[in-house]
């Protein structure tokens, strides 16, 4: 006679808070594009963190060849410079490595600001409706009327040159897209049964927003955040290229500006101005690929 085991009392274990937050993001781990995007991010994060170990030279140091000549305009591999040197005798490879730092720093902080401000405004507008909604959405209309890049240029000219100008400008203007989308999402969430139930049960507005609505819009915020990373990096590159960047920080945009101003195009120095562009494309398209994976989860209608 088979022995019947006493039914074990299965106590549902609550997963760790971090694990729950990670799950709430609903990272699209089964979409090959999204995984590729996440991998690209990972590689650049590792490079940025270990830039001091990976770089072969100080990116701003003016270098000399073993024969004590200025190491200017060397081709890749010459005198041991992996990717060659700039016209001022700086190591291109090391600049590229350090460039990943400012790119990620600007990209991630700007994306965080845009997603945070956009989500909060969208939540408040969608949840409270009426005049709160009317005022916030008119503000969004105004933000849509401001040409972004010209705005950053004017702002950068009046503020002290700094990599944070791009972050400030994005926080001031680009919350508009996120806010609109989150708002319309909240409008539908607000009418759901469980939100009604919470309200009837006497939960405060604050608690309803935080516990019942915010977790449902988190993936959407993350999606707009990952688009914003790309926007921030592209904007920083444009601003640095136009000469309104911080001359003391090495970024990919700065490298391109340096190359352009030093006649690298006429000198056929492809090894100088192509790599920073490729790096920008990789990071920005990684954001797009993740976004695409998200869209398949969030809007299954689109995935085919």
């Amino acid at each position: 006679m088979p022995e019947i085991a006493a039914p074990a009392i299965i106590k549902p274990r609550r997963p760790h808070i971090l694990a729950r937050m990670f799950r709430a993001l609903r990272l699209p781990m089964n979409d090959p594009f999204a995984v590729a995007g996440l991998l690209i991010y990972l590689v650049f994060i590792v490079v940025a963190v270990f830039a001091d170990q990976i770089a072969t030279h100080d990116p701003t140091e003016i270098l000399y060849t073993p024969a004590y000549d200025l190491a200017a305009d060397l081709r890749p591999g010459e005198d041991g410079f992996i990717m060659g040197t700039t016209s001022l005798g700086r190591d291109i490879f090391s600049q590229l490595v350090y460039g990943s730092r400012s790119a990620l720093l600007i990209g991630i902080t700007a994306a965080f600001m845009v997603a945070l401000i956009g989500s909060v405004i969208g939540l408040v507008a969608g949840y409270f409706g009426r005049w709160v909604d009317a005022i916030l959405m008119r503000l969004a209309d105004i933000a849509f009327g401001i040409p972004f890049l010209p705005f950053v240029i004017v702002l950068a000219a009046f503020l002290k040159p700094s990599i944070w100008n791009v972050v400030i400008a994005m926080a001031l203007v680009l919350w508009r897209d996120t806010a609109r989308v989150i708002r319309s999402q909240v409008l539908t969430l607000r009418t759901r049964g469980y939100v009604e139930a919470a309200r009837v049960a006497g939960s405060s507005d604050f608690k309803i927003i935080l516990r019942h609505i915010a977790p449902n819009i988190l993936p959407l915020s993350f999606l707009y955040g990952s688009i914003a990373i790309g926007w921030a990096i592209l904007t920083e590159a444009s601003i640095s290229f136009l000469g309104f960047g911080d001359p003391n920080s090495i970024s990919w945009g700065y490298m391109l500006q340096d190359a352009f101003a030093s006649q690298a195009l006429a000198k056929q120095a492809y090894y100088w101005f192509v790599p920073p562009g490729i790096c920008i494309i990789l990071v920005v398209s990684a954001g797009f690929f993740i976004t695409r994976g998200y869209e398949n989860i969030l809007f299954p209608k689109l995935s085919r």
Partner: protein
């Protein structure tokens, strides 16, 4: 009747946005560090000129009065004197605007024709390897910095191959008798080719992806199934029934794209030394030519705002199912 009300409220919104942008511009240029008069007066102007501008813009009056005078001047199209060109800002902008518009529209038309055709094709060939390879490629073109693409094009086609000129709108020494004479000359078109191609490569992704996803949506609708049941050929179904309907939202996106393109022009015009509004804005800001910077910014903002309006109205007009609620 309902439509009139909707258009009316949209126009009200337009007025609000215009007022807000103009006010932000005023505040940005007045609150900047340094001499508050620097917004309109350059120390090298003659004393007479300085006094005239002082009176014209009320620079000795309190800020709120200056603001009212500024609004009044704007309504008359009065933007002040450019520091560098020694001529009215309005006049300068009218010279530059055609160059920017030609660049914008020529590149966008190429981008939209290509994007619509390629998008429809990819929707038709959905699931094939062509589609599998094309979509990430298109996403990559969206991820490129426009000015970098311009640099690469310049290096290849101008410096390496020597096929096309490197910048500007005409070869040095060439003079043209008039507007049309210049813009239809071979010389001008050769100069236009690279910047327009750069912007077109960057812009084709939007209509392409939009057309593709619309096509996929439309292909599932009843009237397309009906057309198939009627026994119409695949080509007729795709082109005459599906593509026509998928096209509407793509066309409205054209208006939005003009606004975005104008912002992207800022960098591409700088790469190709194209004498347009965007490059002038950059140069004016760099040289502290504030009246011209304000004027160029305002002109770009106006186009963006009106294109947003046009897109909204077109959308409602072309698809009556959408209401302005």
């Amino acid at each position: 009747m309902k439509n009139f009300k909707a258009v009316g409220s949209r126009l009200l919104q337009l007025a609000l946005v215009l007022w807000a942008v103009v006010t932000i511009l005023f505040l940005m240029f007045r609150l900047m560090p340094g001499n508050p008069m620097a917004a309109y007066i350059d120390p090298t102007f003659t004393l007479e000129q300085q006094q005239q501008l002082m009176a014209q813009f009320g620079l000795d009056k309190p800020l709120w009065q200056q603001y009212l005078i500024y609004l009044g001047n704007l309504l008359q199209g009065e933007l002040g004197q450019s520091f560098r060109y020694r001529e009215p800002v309005g006049q300068r902008i009218w010279i530059l605007l055609p160059n920017t518009l030609i660049l914008t529209f020529s590149s966008l038309i190429v981008a939209y024709v290509f994007g619509i055709l390629a998008g429809a094709y990819l929707a038709w060939r959905r699931g094939s390897w062509v589609e599998q390879a094309a979509i990430p490629l298109v996403l990559t073109t969206r991820a490129m910095p426009e000015f970098w693409l311009g640099m690469v094009m310049l290096a290849i086609f101008s410096f390496s191959l020597g096929w096309l000129p490197a910048g500007g709108t005409r070869a040095p020494g060439n003079e043209y008798s008039g507007f049309l004479d210049l813009y239809t000359s071979r010389d001008f078109l050769a100069h236009l080719a690279l910047p327009a191609a750069t912007l077109a490569i960057y812009s084709q992704g939007l209509p392409l992806l939009l057309m593709r996803s619309n096509m996929l949506d439309v292909m599932k609708e009843d009237f397309v199934t009906m057309a198939r049941i009627k026994g119409l050929s695949n080509w007729t179904v795709v082109v005459r029934h599906a593509a026509r309907n998928a096209l509407l939202p793509v066309m409205t996106s054209f208006a939005i794209a003009v606004g975005y393109q104008l912002q992207g022009n800022v960098v591409v015009e700088s790469v190709f030394s194209w004498p347009g509004l965007g490059r002038e804005l950059v140069n004016a800001v760099a040289a502290s030519d504030y009246p011209l910077a304000q004027g160029a910014f305002l002109m770009i903002a106006l186009v963006v705002i009106f294109m947003n309006l046009l897109a909204d109205l077109l959308y409602a007009f072309l698809d009556p199912r959408i209401s302005h609620a």
